[in-house]
């Protein structure tokens, strides 16, 4: 008998388990990211909530400037808005483009019950819940067209509703028109007025805790599961006898109610409300927060709101903006590009490339490097020796004085888009170097001259990039649409 080579015993196939999927799962489970995710999933929600709340709660102890307190309060209000928008957009998949109108309605309703103009001062423990209910009711009404409309049409109807709201605000006499309503009375709880910024911060924090707990419980309940079913496949849900229309209306109402509460806190903090505060820019900012954080994920949208509001503040003027810009680039490179040595090589290459170009330009055409940077950080001082800063490219009003800056900007957009089309990894990595340098030049020259506008440009670009490459945002779950 010839010796047959020993073949290993084939493993007994496990019942009900796909071998390939199971082995892939095993490998995935070893990864660090997944281990954190699992540990996270195992912690009880109370602990998660405390972990989220504690950094906020101690924030005022570390901060003593009114400006930073105001930023903190604004951040919390944005978090509330993001949580509210998350209900309709994240959990049910409805595109609500009129969301900031509910925010404005809440603010104006508060002004209607607690201001010198209205001549009365309701205590907040009555005012805020009533406002929440009233705004929720309006949300219900606005959602009514959704029964007959596909998602896209609903978006436009809600957008029109926002326009309508603004027209009414500006023209109806009882809203005092564009003058807005000033002299809004502070919040008063059981006879004690909230007069300090710290107090408002804690009021907003309490509202946050209550609302996020409420939303969490709602999500865990049957309603939450029904919402998710509607989002995944509306037709199937309807066949499963879920009251789809009622669920959609409920989502609109809940989201609106949350926005109303945010508005009711916003109004006394500001002391005045104006129609122009509730515009499309605010809407798209909240959308960016929800999308970045992960639509459908409570923790995600909270983190998204904090990140974006903090970035917006940092990018408000040229004094601190460069820190944010360059560190985001570096972090993005380090996180997105594998293997680990490649981003380092790219960064080193960019620096070298820049220095070479700067030298060459200085020799050939000195006017190209003679300008001064707009930025006020140490990075900008260093960058002055590294990027091309043509003299007179930007006028004293911050606008491009000639074609050079505009062409550079358009060139950068084209280059970035073109890079996404390059297939070969090698060429892409090489191409990133001059594009990064060009980006730094455009930043120092043009974007720093108008940081307030530049940050919105970056948000728009971020939104497009997110939807194309990572629509689930930071914390969301990847969804696959079965067509």
């Amino acid at each position: 008998m010839s010796e047959t080579p020993e073949t290993p015993e084939p493993q007994q196939p496990r019942i009900g388990v796909d071998e390939w999927v199971a082995s892939a799962e095993e490998r995935r489970r070893q990864g660090l990211g997944t281990r954190i995710e699992d540990a996270f999933g195992r912690t009880p929600p109370v602990v998660k909530l405390l972990a989220l709340v504690i950094p906020f709660a101690v924030y005022p102890l570390f901060v003593d400037s009114e400006y930073l307190m105001q930023v903190g309060i604004d951040t919390l209000i944005f978090v509330l808005l993001a949580l509210g928008l998350n209900v309709a957009v994240g959990w049910v998949g409805l595109l609500d483009l009129g969301f900031v109108a509910f925010f404005g309605l809440g603010a104006y309703l508060y002004a209607a019950v607690a201001s010198e103009y209205a001549g009365r001062h309701w205590e907040a423990q009555f005012a805020i819940p009533l406002i929440a209910i009233a705004v929720a009711a309006v949300g219900f009404v606005v959602g009514l067209p959704s029964r007959r409309l596909v998602g896209d049409y609903l978006a436009i109807v809600t957008l029109f509703f926002l326009q309508l709201w603004l027209v009414i605000l500006v023209n109806a006499s009882f809203t005092r028109g564009p003058n807005g309503i000033s002299d809004i009375y502070p919040l008063e709880f059981f006879g004690r007025q909230v007069t300090s910024l710290d107090g408002y911060f804690y009021v907003a924090l309490i509202a946050f805790v209550l609302i996020i707990s409420f939303l969490y419980l709602l999500n865990q309940s049957r309603t939450g599961r029904a919402w998710r079913a509607v989002r995944e496949d509306e037709l199937a849900s309807e066949l499963m006898t879920m009251p789809v229309n009622r669920l959609k209306l409920l989502a609109f109402a809940v989201g609106a109610g949350v926005a109303g509460i945010a508005g009711a806190i916003f109004a006394p903090v500001q002391g005045a409300v104006f129609p122009a505060s509730f515009d499309l820019v605010l809407l798209i900012t909240v959308y960016a927060m929800v999308v970045l954080g992960g639509a459908g994920n409570l923790l995600g949208v909270t983190v998204g709101a904090v990140l974006i509001n903090a970035s917006l503040e940092a990018l408000r003027d040229a004094n601190n903006a460069s820190w944010l810009f360059f560190s985001v680039i570096v972090i993005a490179l380090l996180m997105l590009v594998r293997p680990r040595w490649l981003p380092v090589a790219i960064l080193a290459g960019t620096v070298a490339f820049g220095l070479v170009v700067h030298e060459v330009a200085e020799q050939l055409r000195p006017s190209l490097v003679e300008g001064a940077t707009f930025g006020g950080t140490r990075i900008d001082e260093l960058a002055e020796q590294w990027v091309l800063l043509p003299e007179g490219a930007i006028g004293p009003d911050g606008l491009p004085a000639g074609a050079l800056a505009r062409l550079a900007y358009l060139g950068l957009v084209a280059a970035v888009l073109g890079l996404t089309l390059v297939r070969s990894r090698l060429w892409r990595s090489i191409g990133v170097v001059p594009v990064l340098y060009l980006a730094a030049c455009v930043w120092e020259n043009l974007l720093l001259a108008q940081p307030a506008v530049a940050r919105f440009v970056l948000i728009g670009a971020m939104l497009v990039a997110l939807m194309a490459y990572r629509p689930q945002g930071l914390f969301g779950r990847q969804r696959v649409e079965i067509v």
Binding site: L205, S213, D397, G398
Partner: protein, 383 residues
């Protein structure tokens, strides 16, 4: 569900505990800093540097920078400028206002440029005794009732503009039939209402129209303008809109000419064949006596695209800087002292009589708007 309940209860208890602790803590307001000498002092600017009215804010800050440089050179001071961009949005104005107020080097703020910014920051600045001197916030309600005790303006308010316009329209232009248009914002609506009321009181027939601030087509409004209308008073902050309106009036063969309020003032953009415009401070470019300072300004910027907004802000800055310098000289370099000195100051002015303030922060005596007649795009002041 049960675990959830416990979670909520614990959360509420925890936050309640934190709140009681917090409410007991005194609030953190910025205390006016004691600056020993005049070498570490800044002027703040609060106005729209980007956004819809950005070009106006840019003009203002350009003249302000020019003024700061000139003052420093002439007086040996080293004042710096801190910019605050409100983007014409109230919440932004509040945040930026707080930022300026928290900056202990800032002893006075030039602005808010727009009345809306003053409304949100008025109480804040008053609390910290931070003098805010504006060169363009002309809304009447800012000094009515209980005024902000640290707000001052070097230009007359709209309460002066309205009557001046309606008097000119009814008396000089002898109009019997007028259309008044507003642009649905906090600037134009009160002005339009005041002018309408005043004209009707004088027996002039007035009809009211309204456009949105970013409308670019007025053809249908013009169709509503009768052929016997003499003047269309347009309260707007967009000069090109006034220009389009007057063109479309001509296109449809109407005899009415446009009278633009001060927001429409722009020799480069509002160039009707026939029209008028009013402005809160005379445009120095048309004043031969101001040739010297215009020349100096033109050496400061490469291209002079300014109108009348800049010089008023320059004047506001001059008032503030003079007060700060006096405070330093008296040895009391703090915000309270600066505000007191601004209130009692008399400062020579490039835009008219020496600047003095009344008890509410307005110009003493009310001040006067300047009206320009425009013929074929050329501006000439009306005496």
């Amino acid at each position: 569900m049960r675990k959830g309940m416990i979670a909520v209860a614990l959360a509420v208890l925890a936050s309640a505990a934190v709140v009681t602790a917090a409410v007991a803590k005194p609030s953190a307001t910025a205390t006016p800093a004691q600056v020993a000498t005049c070498t570490n002092v800044s002027l703040g600017f609060l106005g729209p540097l980007t956004g819809p009215a950005g070009f106006l804010g840019q003009e203002q800050i350009s003249w302000l920078k020019f003024g700061v440089q000139k003052y420093n050179k002439e007086n040996g001071t080293r004042f710096a400028l801190v910019e605050g961009d409100t983007q014409l949005k109230a919440p932004v104005a509040l945040t930026v206002g707080r930022k300026l107020a928290s900056n202990s080097k800032v002893l006075a703020v030039i602005g808010g440029s727009e009345s809306q910014a003053v409304r949100v920051t008025g109480n804040l600045f008053e609390r910290t005794s931070l003098a805010n001197v504006s060169g363009s916030a002309t809304a009447v309600d800012l000094t009515k009732g209980r005024p902000y005790r640290s707000f001052f303006r070097v230009v007359p308010n709209d309460g002066v503009q309205g009557p001046q316009i309606l008097n000119f329209v009814s008396t000089n232009l002898k109009a019997k039939n007028v259309v008044v248009i507003d642009s649905q914002d906090d600037y134009s609506l009160p002005l339009a209402s005041a002018i309408t009321r005043g004209l009707r009181a004088k027996g002039v027939t007035v009809s009211r129209e309204s456009v949105s601030a970013d409308d670019t087509d007025f053809s249908s409004i013009v169709a509503n303008v009768g052929s016997n209308v003499n003047v269309v008073v347009f309260a707007t902050q967009v000069a090109t809109a006034a220009n389009t309106l007057s063109n479309q009036l001509r296109e449809q063969g109407k005899r009415a000419t446009v009278f633009g309020t001060d927001g429409a003032y722009s020799p480069s953009q509002f160039k009707p064949r026939n029209g008028h415009v009013s402005i809160f401070a005379p445009d120095l470019h048309f004043d031969p006596k101001a040739a010297k300072i215009i020349g100096e300004y033109r050496k400061f910027v490469k291209k002079d695209t300014s109108g009348a907004f800049g010089p008023a802000t320059y004047q506001a800055g001059w008032v503030a800087m003079s007060a700060i310098r006096k405070a330093c000289a008296d040895g009391r370099t703090n915000r309270v002292e600066v505000t007191k000195l601004v209130r009692s100051s008399t400062t020579p002015s490039i835009i008219g009589a020496p600047t003095r303030f009344d008890a509410k922060g307005d110009l003493r005596g009310g001040g006067q708007f300047t009206i320009y007649r425009i013929t074929n795009g050329k501006y000439s002041p009306v005496r």
